[in-house]
């Protein structure tokens, strides 16, 4: 593989692997609690972090991590204390984050929107050696949280009210999910880009659940799909000279479409197997009985 001769491609592929694993790993909990667009919101807030990084001449990755973690915590707080207008507050956070990013980049000496572009849509050549360290440390954190606390996070994301009665620290775990999602956004930022990062958290999970019945299988397949599309997208991006972010996202959507097409006959076969397992006295077809029975529950 001649593409591995280039040091920048080695770094990009390592970043792609880390992104492919961490995106779906945290995304599955966001999908489970029906907040699939939270990653999108964090991505917008992270732009302010990138802009600040340029302006203050510090590492955009760490600055984006700090600002997006702060934004994610703020979103969680709005979810707790916000009443009916929570969605409006969230929208302001999204747009404010994006506007702040563009503003700060343009205020930075010699800065323009062109600097921002590689952060918005991802870029192979911009994964710097010091980024690799940052991304690896952050990805290790995401994997430790999403796998190590999977039972706790499953319970909190499945049914928050119930989780409270099992004695779990629900608020702390929700904050942890928010911060972990923010960290994932900055891990993915260099390769996929901030605009498209949310797709990697949501689409592989949506694709996997076309086939699965269990959370564990959904998790495993989603991570495999994420990994396949980030590595495949990065390689394609190298040979075709297109930005990696859109390539990766289009691959995940292709996987979703293929699995959805496969799922229909699979569901039919499962239904047939279920019907075959049914005892003879329990027909799948309804027959209209001649008389009403007390167990029908029809009182006159």
């Amino acid at each position: 593989m001649e593409l591995l001769d280039h040091a920048f491609m080695q770094r990009a592929l390592l970043a792609a692997v880390l992104v492919g694993v961490t995106g779906p790993a945290i995304g599955i909990y966001l999908v489970q609690r029906r907040q699939p667009l939270m990653g999108d919101g964090i991505g917008h807030v992270a732009m302010t972090g990138v802009g600040l990084g340029f302006l203050l001449n510090t590492s955009p990755v760490w600055m984006a991590t700090a600002v997006s973690a702060l934004g994610a915590v703020l979103m969680e707080l709005i979810r707790w204390y916000g009443r009916t207008r929570g969605d409006i507050a969230l929208a302001m956070l999204f747009y404010g984050g994006m506007a702040g990013g563009v503003m700060f980049v343009n205020l930075a000496p010699g800065g323009s929107n062109a600097n921002l572009s590689s952060y918005l849509f991802g870029s192979l050549s911009t994964v710097a050696p010091e980024d690799v360290t940052a991304i690896s440390v952050l990805a290790a954190f995401v994997v430790a949280v999403t796998l190590g606390l999977r039972r706790q996070l499953f319970a909190v994301s499945q049914d928050e009210e119930f989780a409270r009665v099992t004695g779990l620290p629900v608020r702390a775990l929700n904050l942890l999910v928010a911060v972990t999602a923010a960290v994932t956004v900055t891990v993915a930022m260099r390769v996929v880009g901030l605009i498209l990062v949310s797709a990697l958290m949501v689409v592989p999970v949506a694709a996997a659940q076309q086939l699965t019945r269990s959370f564990a299988a959904t998790f495993a397949i989603a991570v495999a799909l994420g990994l396949g599309s980030t590595v495949g997208g990065t390689v394609t991006s190298y040979y075709q000279d297109v930005p990696p972010g859109p390539t990766i996202v289009l691959l995940t959507i292709a996987a979703f479409l293929v699995l959805t097409a496969l799922a229909t006959p699979l569901a039919r076969r499962r239904a047939r197997a279920l019907a075959a397992a049914r005892p003879a006295g329990d027909p799948a077809e309804c027959a209209i009985p001649a008389t009403r029975e007390p167990s029908d529950g029809v009182g006159v």
């Binding site: 999908v31 606390l149 319970a155 119930f162 659940q209 699965t212």
Partner: protein, 266 residues
Amino acid sequence: MSATAGTEGDVGAMGEPVISLRGVRADLGGRPVLRGIDLTVRRGEVVALLGANGSGKSTAVRSLIGQVPLAAGEIELFGTPRHRFREWARVGYVPQRTTAASGVPATVTEIVSAGRLARTRFGLFRKADREAVRRALEEVGMADRASDSAFALSGGQQQRVLIARALACEPELLIMDEPMAGVDLASQEVLAGTLREQVAAGTTVLLVLHELGPLEPLIDRAVVLRDGCVVHDGPPPEAVGQHALPGHDHVHPHAAADPIRTGLLS
């Protein structure tokens, strides 16, 4: 085991209070929903919390588990003020839900296992924990669906899964919010049977119900709420009003021939 109607004074004759609400007030969106509720449930009692929609029964239960902040009053669980209560493994809770499923597929076992977390250390499952989950599924007659997705279940089966989840931690106190809502008669019978076994084993039960239905023979005491106040605390009320009219006899599978008292005191 089965205590009758208890008032604050006569502690000597009964078991110790498991649930105790004193002067509980709660507001939702600036509107008072509970206006000073007193409620004591003693060990081994089966208490039904009844009332019309909006009377505050769900809010009372949700304040009990800390989901609704109190404006005034005190709540104790097993004699400990609620904000200091940590022994959640003693409490099984069935929230008011129409489905056990969420945004991602999960098997019946995975969902019920969440109820066992209170008994585990750092969420590590041992053999005994997996056994307890399997037992809880057997108690609600769902063991044969253990590896099915919750999406594939009927409303009644989903409710059975939610109850199994509450039973997985082998609780001493079972709190259920409308466990019979939207449940088909077959599942209602299974749930009544499950509850009968729990009560026989000495579990204390607080149930929010819309009507007594097939659970009526199990209920020791009924507490009726109206507009956030307790208006009845004693034996299960006789059917009155609309529900007592001829033609309102519900057909119940356990005794289809007898006329059955249902409905609320209102």
